[in-house]
């Protein structure tokens, strides 16, 4: 369980994260979404005690992470797959992490196996592809068998097989009752992975709810209608309070249901050759909700 309460981080005059409050619960995969620069990585670093909040608190399992003397048995994390020394072998890297946390040595081989890196254990990390480094980072997160796992953009650089492995792994970890918190700037990545979503934009919370709830909230359904008397129907619909715009020879109507549009057309005896409802995808819901924050944010840091 991760509890974020009124979390704020300022760097000089820039506010990277502003008054964030949300809870990440065990037993499910929670996606942490936001455009680039929304403050995701800053938030994750504060959860892990790497950055000190300007104000607010964050606890993992009821305690600030910094208060623990050893971390890996409490929180496993992958913040940046490049946060390793390229001169070490994968096995030596994990062995050092395991030793410091008093984790038995056999876990190193186990997590390497799990991550599909058993063959590469004796190779220097410097020669790894990004995908392999992501796998190594995930392996190190699993090392301490922790109840809470945090991943920052874990799918970057993974091949399709790797993506599938990661998704299955996250689901399994959640099913085992662990808290799994995964950040991404792509909704499409989360669509098939997360049960819950925490969405931020410009450092502020936009939504913290279930995937279904989020997609319903953001959904704007349009009605597309085709008629030979476009301009007449356009006027009629506008008079009913709908927003209408022309797309080719079709009208796209917002604010009325397809049934209402059909009835209006019938009442005025207008011929209709096309009538359909178009609901926005999750991706669109995400874009819509974060649109404002993105504009201001281009060029801002996370």
């Amino acid at each position: 369980m991760i509890e974020v309460n009124g979390l704020t981080k300022r760097y000089g005059g820039t506010t990277a994260v502003k008054d964030l409050t949300f809870t990440v619960r065990p037993g499910r995969v929670t996606g942490f979404l936001g455009p680039n620069g929304a403050g995701k990585s800053t938030t994750l670093r504060m959860i892990l005690g790497l950055h000190e909040p300007s104000s607010g608190t964050v606890t993992v399992g009821g305690r600030p992470f910094r208060d623990r003397s050893r971390g890996l048995r409490h929180v496993g994390s992958l913040l940046d797959a490049h946060d390793v020394h390229g001169g070490r072998t994968a096995a030596a890297h994990l062995a050092a992490l395991a030793a410091g946390n008093r984790i038995p040595r056999h876990r190193v081989a186990e997590v390497l196996q799990e991550a599909g890196l058993a063959e590469a254990a004796r190779r220097r990390i410097g020669g790894f592809s990004l995908g392999m480094k992501q796998r190594l980072g995930i392996a190190s997160a699993l090392l301490g068998d922790p109840p809470v796992l945090i991943f920052d953009e874990p799918l970057n650089g993974l091949d399709p097989e790797g993506v599938k492995w990661v998704r299955d792994l996250f689901r399994r970890l959640a099913a085992e009752g662990r808290t799994v918190f995964v950040s991404s700037h792509l909704m499409s990545e989360m669509e098939h992975t997360a049960d819950q979503l925490v969405v931020i934009g410009r450092g502020e919370l936009i939504a913290a709810e279930s995937l279904a709830g989020f997609s319903a909230r953001g959904t704007r359904s349009d009605v597309t209608v085709g008629t030979s008397a476009s301009s007449v129907l356009e006027g009629l619909l506008a008079a009913e309070g709908a927003t209408v715009r022309v797309e080719g020879d079709l009208l796209v109507v917002t604010g009325l249901t397809s049934v209402q549009v059909g009835e209006i057309a019938q009442r005025h005896r207008l011929p209709i050759h096309h009538l359909s409802t178009r609901s926005s995808s999750l991706e669109e819901a995400f874009m819509e909700l974060t649109a404002d924050s993105v504009q201001y944010l281009a060029g801002e840091s996370r």
């Binding site: 369980m1 760097y11 000089g12 992490l97 009752g177």
Partner: protein, 340 residues
């Protein structure tokens, strides 16, 4: 999102390691730091190269002395024997090279973590940062002491063997010989700890190397021995302390000091450096070295109206985030170069 899955939420995770966490021990961190240090090929190369350079310099000087050694009568030979053989056993030049090299090696131990971003992996695994730095200091002290002991004793044995070719070598029981070997051996850990402290505080390779040269090398040379305050300050530097301990016979000085004082300087520098390294990591944010390829931070162009000036870079908490990758990536470049 609160009620539906509460049964799941309260269920304890399936654990592969067993539920109870073993007590945290400091020696586990020492083991971890030792694994980190020895698993880098660059560590071995750097220490071996330094050892070779220092020993070669001493033996070379001894060879030079012996090849120019003219036949002298017994009285003259005895007189010279009280000075020259010990000067060759560990030369001033060798001590300077060792001091600077070990300062750099001590600094690299932490700079390489900042440079690669490994520091965040380290601190996320062990949130007790001061313990991590204390473990680093312990491993560095042990490694550098072993290195110093090897280099100083090997230098002594080899140089005296060379000089014995002309019958002028001295045994370790010679007055001042053991002190010289000890002082030279311990100059290694003292310098290494100073490097570690500077690297931890400055976190920037070029700045650290410059500060290390200034502090360990330039300062003791610049300070005169003729004014009281300069002499006092000078005596408080490790290099001058080594000179005092390596002294053979009596060197006249307007402000004499004792070998006990010199040993105390060694101890105080080592303790102060370790303390500085350990305490300075506690509250500071761990900066990012690089950014994701798609990150907007990488985009060029002016922004950041609120960016603080460079003087505030040591107060990292107030550091504009945009400043971070730039500062850190420079360290990364140099560290990357020093790794190969």
């Amino acid at each position: 999102m609160t009620t539906t899955n509460d049964t799941k939420a309260t269920r304890a995770p399936a654990r592969a390691l067993g539920g109870t966490e073993p007590r945290a021990r400091f020696r586990d961190l020492v083991t971890a730091e030792w694994i980190k240090l020895r698993s880098l090929r660059s560590t071995w190369i750097a220490y071996a190269a330094t050892a070779l350079a220092v020993i070669a310099l001493n033996v070379g000087t001894a060879y030079d002395t012996s090849s120019h050694w003219a036949e002298q009568n017994q009285e003259e030979a005895d007189f010279i024997r009280n000075g020259i053989p010990l000067q060759d056993a560990f030369t001033v030049n060798a001590s300077m090279i060792m001091m600077l090299a070990l300062g750099a090696l001590g600094a690299v131990m932490i700079l390489v973590e900042y440079g690669t971003g490994m520091i965040r992996t380290t601190f996320a695994a062990v949130p007790a940062r001061r313990s991590v730095l204390a473990a680093k200091a312990v491993v560095l002290t042990m490694t550098a002491t072993a290195f110093g002991a090897f280099v100083a004793s090997t230098s002594f044995v080899l140089t005296q063997a060379v000089l014995n070719g002309k019958g002028v070598g001295v045994p370790i029981s010679h007055p001042g010989a053991l002190r010289l070997v000890l002082a030279s051996a311990l100059l290694a850990p003292v310098s290494a700890l100073v490097g570690l402290a500077l690297g931890t505080v400055l976190r920037h390779t070029a700045a650290t190397m410059t500060a290390s040269v200034l502090l360990l090398f330039m300062l003791p040379i610049a300070l005169s021995d003729d004014r009281h305050w300069q002499a006092t300050l000078g005596h408080a530097t490790p290099y001058r302390a080594w000179l005092k301990l390596a002294e053979t016979g009596h060197t006249p000085s307007p402000f004499p000091w004792t070998t006990t004082g010199a040993w105390t300087v060694y101890a105080l520098w080592a303790i102060a450096a370790a303390a500085l390294a350990i305490t300075s990591v506690h509250r500071r944010d761990q900066l990012s070295r690089r950014h994701h390829p798609q990150s907007p931070r990488q985009l060029p162009g002016p922004r950041i109206p609120g960016r603080p000036d460079s003087r505030s870079t040591r107060r990292t908490d107030r550091l504009a985030s945009s400043e971070r990758p730039r500062v850190a990536s420079r360290a990364g470049t140099v560290a990357a170069a020093s790794r190969s």
